[in-house]
């Protein structure tokens, strides 16, 4: 459990954007692992199994949670959800755009925080693609949405993430007149 708990927790935390929920999900993942302990003990793919189960349980949790709390959670969220404040900040995407004089640990914390700030319909596909290395088609299947929508959501999520990071000073921003 020691070897995998950070991986399982990270998967759940990045997808949910909520540490308390991620801890509950991680607990469920390890309880399921215990049920299959005999198979997993000798398996070389235990890590992959745990990651898959963590992703599946998190997505199940999110879909249940979304149905239950749709009104509360998505009150302000629609497809035009970019902050007006961010509209004026265009991140610089050149290879040396990442500000070097920020401590790596601090930069990592800011990136995690920025992920949490993304709306769920942006964060989930982005994390599945960039952190879980899932192909577009698999993400579309998992989330039961069309392939073009997944691509659009991920593209918007990347832009929103880059803008948040530009605002926090992690990447260079060029001010553009909107």
């Amino acid at each position: 459990m020691h070897a995998y708990q950070d991986m399982v927790f990270s998967t759940a935390a990045r997808l949910t954007g909520n540490d308390a929920q991620a801890e509950d999900i991680a607990q469920d993942v390890f309880l399921k692992a215990y049920e299959n302990f005999d198979q997993l003990r000798s398996s070389s793919t235990a890590g992959g199994w745990l990651k898959t189960v963590a992703t599946r349980l998190t997505l199940n949790h999110l879909s249940r949670y979304r149905r239950r709390w749709r009104f509360f959670s998505e009150l302000r969220r629609d497809d035009s959800d970019e902050d007006s404040e961010l509209e004026f900040t265009t991140p610089d995407l050149t290879p040396d755009a990442i500000v070097a004089d920020i401590d790596a640990e601090q930069r990592q914390a800011i990136i995690e925080q920025a992920l949490r700030e993304l709306p769920e319909h942006h964060r989930v596909p982005l994390v599945l693609y960039h952190f879980e290395d899932m192909p577009y088609q698999d993400i579309a299947n998992q989330l039961r949405v069309s392939l073009p929508k997944v691509k659009t959501d991920i593209q918007r999520a990347r832009m929103a993430l880059a803008k948040i990071l530009a605002r926090r000073g992690v990447v260079r921003a060029s001010l553009a007149s909107a």
């Binding site: 459990m1 020691h2 708990q5 950070d6 991986m7 399982v8 927790f9 990270s10 935390a13 990045r14 909520n18 540490d19 308390a20 801890e23 991680a26 607990q27 390890f30 309880l31 215990y34 709390w69 009104f71 509360f72 959670s73 009150l75 265009t90 991140p91 610089d92 995407l93 290879p95 755009a97 990442i98 790596a104 990592q108 990136i111 995690e112 982005l126 960039h130 952190f131 593209q155 990347r158 832009m159 993430l161 880059a162 990071l165 990447v171 060029s174």
Partner: protein
Amino acid sequence: MSNGPEKLESFVDQLVRGQPLRRAPATLEARVLAQLALQHAPIPWWRRGFTHWPLTARVAFLIASYGFVRLAIAGVMSIITFVGSREVAETAVSWAHVGTTAVSATVSLCSLIVSAIPPLWLYGAAVCGFALYALLFGLGTVAYRTLYVQR
């Protein structure tokens, strides 16, 4: 400067590539172990199915059930006998009359009060109640979003 999709994708890739795993809370392992201990704790016989009960408990339960059924039947029979007598029936009728009189008097009083209140007040009270309900709902939403979702 144009931020093309491929450029943006490789930029985000570059950003997250070195991102380390989040550290799991220290409480996670203890929680899992506690849950496992709970799942594997022996369940007492009275929380299991009847077929898993000890023989003496099963026999005692059947005897107690038989006694309870006998008692219930005897109780119902005695109530039927009691209600069947004339005095009891008359008493019941008089109590029913008192009850209906009290209810009708209360209804008359309420309708008198309502008719005495100006309709504008009633509409105002309804609007006020609805506004308070909406306010409470809004406060609940804000509290949820602030205290729970942002956690």
